[in-house]
């Protein structure tokens, strides 16, 4: 066991003494932050080369990146609500500025503003939460939250924090900033944002769980239900989108759901006093946090490499890139397999733990929870199937087949400076896949901290052994593949190997535009789920009597259900109602002076009648 590192400093009169503490939970997230930021930095130096930036702009970018990094570290360490909000705000602002990298593009600008506004809605919730605690206990320190939870009802305050952190993490319906901000940012920033910043929402939720005293079961059920819906919604949208960075952003939402499922199982485990569920749920969630930060940053870097070489984010314009960018293709393939949770890669280890938690929950709860667990089990398997569809579509459309359009310049493999960070990530992913015990040992010490369950730690050891066995079997799978491959190679050595055209099924003049597209690949799916993924088509019908039709165009894109039905109407309503007050800000200096006089008069009158001090 290791002792948490602690130090305190004074932060103004209001916040009081601020405690900085580096405990297991903080260090787990700091490990993830540091690793992703370092790979992001090395990748980013290579990525930005093609932009030919001015010196000033480049320095500005990296200074912001540094502040961004520092603020994230402090978010993980500070144990005082007021100071926490300050660093949380610095983190949001610097990351917004980083998103604004390509600020001439109006779309980027819009995405950044969207991000900015939504982050502040989140901060509002957090502020209300901290002030609530301050109001009741007179302290901003995190330990005050614990005292509050000991004496008051847990549910509502926790939900307030959950919404605040959930906006950062991207739980539905608070996710709508994510698919805008991630594609707009440069690749290394989106990698870090998706790999890490979203996880800090998870960090916040976990930190609040460490203080929680009651209502575990109910909160677990709420989080579990919301998470499986988040997961399904995220991956369903990922499956239909053809902007590959947006696809990855939606996929992040899916993985946050998977992490949330783990947290939900863990909470319910505490609620019904089932140590196995607790260990499997939180253990799986924490390991998935690490895993997702690895393969998601990897995929975003690979996506950045594609964008750098082809200048398009639309996968329908691509195809056959495996020939010109073989290394990036392999990197993307490994990332895709890992994110789909397929053995033998690391995604499977954590998903396996979470699945086992679900099965453990099925076996040991009352009827309503059993039903919830079985439905979640079905939902998670559906998520698995959908992510298979999503990533076969993406990998197939981007890298396989033949180029669909003629690009302005022939794409080439990216520089080693961009590739090496990706190889390092892959090495780490493999280490998680084949030596999970190293990581799980550490997770075990964190789990003791989140909630000291009164059971023997040997249960966690059995989970570690189970995961080691899984990696052994994954190794066996690799062995079978290798053996089959060797037999194949030795048999084919002296045989005739010919190359010919793809069998065209009798059609002799195929061209590249006739290849199956990403859209057509996922069309049957989007047709079935057209209630959830709304397709917007733009086209002109052929008019009656139009004998010689003019050139026409056809466009189709998918809209986000929650954004369209919930966020945008709400925003419109707010803008409209704000219009009623526009007479106050009428641009006449005289009225502004009048407001001042009214205010001063009011103050004088109020103090005369002793209403304010």
């Amino acid at each position: 066991m290791f002792q948490p590192f602690e130090m305190t400093f004074q932060f103004g009169n209001f916040a009081g003494e601020v405690l900085l503490r580096l405990d297991g939970l903080s260090s787990w997230f700091i490990l993830i932050i540091n690793f992703t930021v370092v790979t992001g930095f090395f990748y980013g130096t290579g990525y930005l080369k093609s932009y030919q930036l001015s010196r000033a702009k480049r320095s500005m970018h990296w200074i912001l990146f540094l502040f961004f990094h520092l603020s994230m570290l402090f978010v993980c360490m500070i144990q005082n609500g007021f100071a926490f909000l300050v660093v949380w705000e610095i983190m949001s602002l610097t990351s917004m500025m980083l998103v604004l990298f390509d600020h001439e593009n109006p779309k980027t600008f819009k995405a950044a503003i969207n991000y900015f506004v939504q982050m502040h809605i989140g901060v509002t919730f957090l502020t209300i939460g901290f002030i609530w605690v301050y109001n009741q206990t007179g302290s901003f320190s995190f330990s005050a939250i614990q005292t509050y939870f000991q004496t008051n009802q847990n549910l509502w305050l926790f939900l307030l924090f959950f919404v605040g952190f959930g906006i950062k993490a991207g739980f539905i319906p608070f996710h709508s900033w994510l698919p805008h901000a991630h594609p707009a940012a440069p690749a290394h920033v989106s990698g870090v944002m998706s790999g890490v910043i979203v996880k800090l929402g998870i960090y916040g939720i976990l930190r609040m769980i460490t203080f929680l005293q009651a209502d575990f079961l109910l909160l677990g059920e709420i989080i579990l239900t919301l998470s499986i819906l988040t997961s399904l919604y995220g991956i369903l949208n990922a499956a239909v989108h053809r902007d590959f960075k947006r696809m990855l952003a939606y996929c992040t939402i899916e993985n946050i759901g998977v992490i949330g499922i783990g947290i939900g199982i863990g909470l319910m485990g505490i609620g019904i006093n089932n140590a196995l569920m607790y260990y499997l749920g939180f253990g799986g969630a924490l390991l998935h946090v690490l895993n997702h930060s690895l393969f998601k940053s990897l995929l975003f870097y690979a996506a950045g490499s594609i964008y750098q070489q082809t200048h398009t984010q639309n996968m329908e314009n691509l195809g056959g890139l495996i020939k010109s960018m073989p290394k990036t293709a392999v990197v993307f393939l490994i990332g895709a397999l890992a994110i789909g949770g397929l053995p033998p890669l690391n995604g499977f280890v954590s998903e396996f733990l979470i699945y086992n938690g679900l099965v453990a929950g099925v076996n040991s709860s009352s009827i309503s929870q059993t039903i919830l667990f079985v439905l979640t089990l079905a939902g998670m398997s559906l998520v698995g199937g959908l992510s298979l569809l999503t990533f076969t579509k993406s990998f197939g459309t981007i890298f396989l087949g033949q180029p669909r359009t003629k690009l302005d310049h022939q794409p080439q493999e990216v520089s080693m400076r961009m590739l090496v960070p990706q190889f390092v990530i892959i090495a780490l992913m493999l280490s998680v896949a084949f030596f999970p015990q190293v990581y799980l040992k550490f997770v075990g010490t964190i789990l003791v901290m989140i909630h000291p369950m009164q059971s023997d730690p040997s249960m966690f050891d059995s989970i570690v052994t189970a995961s080691m066995r899984i990696s052994l079997y994954s190794l066996l799978l690799v062995g079978i593949v290798a053996a089959t491959w060797l037999i194949r190679a030795s048999l084919l050595k002296n045989r005739s190997i010919k190359a010919g055209a793809t069998w065209g099924c009798g059609y002799v003049a195929p061209n590249q535009r006739q290849q199956y597209t990403g859209k057509s690949f996922s069309k049957p799916l989007s047709k079935i789920f057209n209630v959830l993924v709304i397709e917007k088509k733009q086209f002109e019908e052929l008019k009656q009597g139009e004998i010689f039709p003019a050139r026409k165009s056809y466009g189709s894109h998918y809209q986000d259900l929650f954004e369209k039905k919930l966020i945008l109407p709400l925003a419109d309503w707010m803008v409209n109602s704000a219009n009623y007050f526009s007479f106050i800000q009428n641009g006449r200096i005289q009225s502004y002076v009048l407001y001042g006089i009214v205010f001063v008069l009011a103050m004088i009158l109020l103090s005369i009648f002793n209403i304010v001090a």
Binding site: Y355, L386, G401, R488, W503, Y516
Partner: protein, 301 residues
């Protein structure tokens, strides 16, 4: 080891019996039972032709597909005797290993750049996705019923006693059989003997494979059939002594092959656009099993 040996033996005959049944049903004599195996052996001796469009993915995919099925085979138990690998949650591993093989077969189809193969790949991904929840709800219910979480423990402690459990075993057989049909792209979902590429699912995906690779894919297909057959057998044998269990194994595999042959002889394939609905029905049948389990455990009060 017993289960692996039995599955390998069953795989030798399974497809042959299906073909023979179909021939007899259509009034032909048909090829010998071992003809599919002879075909595969011949393919293993041949050279190959690759499309110029393809990359290493296309060459690697059949190997991974085959390996994934072999790996899944190692997990399947036989009654009381464990599979080669047996651990808590092995049915999750089973499903995900098969998914890995599917991933590679789908990207291999996309690698050829043929629109027909892309179409097949898209359907394969969609159908197998819809089949997943049915399998997981089924296994979740059986785990609930038996209180265990590994294939072998679940099947060994399934005791068919009350009338509800007979109904459930019948439903579970139906679900597993239909999942086997979807996984192997057989009749109600996909017609392996259709002549039009536009209406194929699995067959169109392997149009460009030849020689050794095609042999691997076909072998994997035969194994997959026997694999699901073994799972169905496991529903019934429980703690029966081996001499009966083994004969029951071959009996049920034989019946299953004949049933598939008869279905393919006397039924038409469903409309492509209706397939997803049909597959989702399997999930609701699984839910019925789940509620049956809740009834047996008297959780409904």
């Amino acid at each position: 080891m017993l289960s692996v040996t039995l599955i390998l033996l069953a795989a030798l005959f399974f497809t042959g019996i299906i073909i023979r049944t179909k021939s007899l049903a259509s009034g032909r004599k048909g090829p010998g039972i071992m003809q599919p195996i002879r075909d595969v052996l011949r393919l293993f001796r041949k050279g190959t032709v690759y499309s110029e469009t393809t990359s290493f993915v296309f060459q690697l995919a059949p190997t991974v597909y085959f390996a994934s099925v072999v790996m899944a085979m190692l997990v399947v138990p036989f009654g009381q005797s464990k599979g080669v690998l047996s651990f808590n949650g092995d049915f999750i591993f089973f499903a995900y290993v098969l998914a890995l093989g599917k991933f590679f077969s789908i990207i291999a189809a996309l690698d050829t750049g043929s629109s027909f193969e892309g179409m097949g790949a898209s359907r394969e991904a969609l159908y197998s996705m819809f089949a997943e929840p049915a399998f997981f709800i089924l296994m979740g219910s059986l785990a609930l019923l038996s209180g265990h979480t590994s294939f072998q423990e679940i099947f060994a402690s399934l005791h068919i006693g009350s009338q509800i459990s007979y109904a459930m075993a019948a439903l579970a057989t139906f679900v597993l059989l239909m999942i086997a049909m979807i996984e192997n792209s057989r009749m109600p979902i996909d017609d392996p003997k259709t002549h039009l590429e536009l209406t194929m699912v699995h067959e169109v995906m392997i149009l460009d494979n030849s020689g050794f690779d095609l042999g691997l894919i076909l072998t994997a297909g035969y194994l997959k059939f026997a694999l699901y057959g073994a799972l169905i057998v496991n529903l019934f044998i429980g703690v029966i002594p081996y001499q009966y269990a083994i004969s029951a194994f071959f009996g049920i595999q034989f019946l299953m092959a004949v049933a598939i042959g008869l279905i393919e002889s006397f039924m038409a394939r469903f409309r492509m656009s209706h397939n997803p609905q049909f597959i989702v029905v399997l999930t609701s049948v699984s839910l019925l099993i789940f509620f049956g389990v809740l009834l047996i455990l008297q959780k409904f009060i």
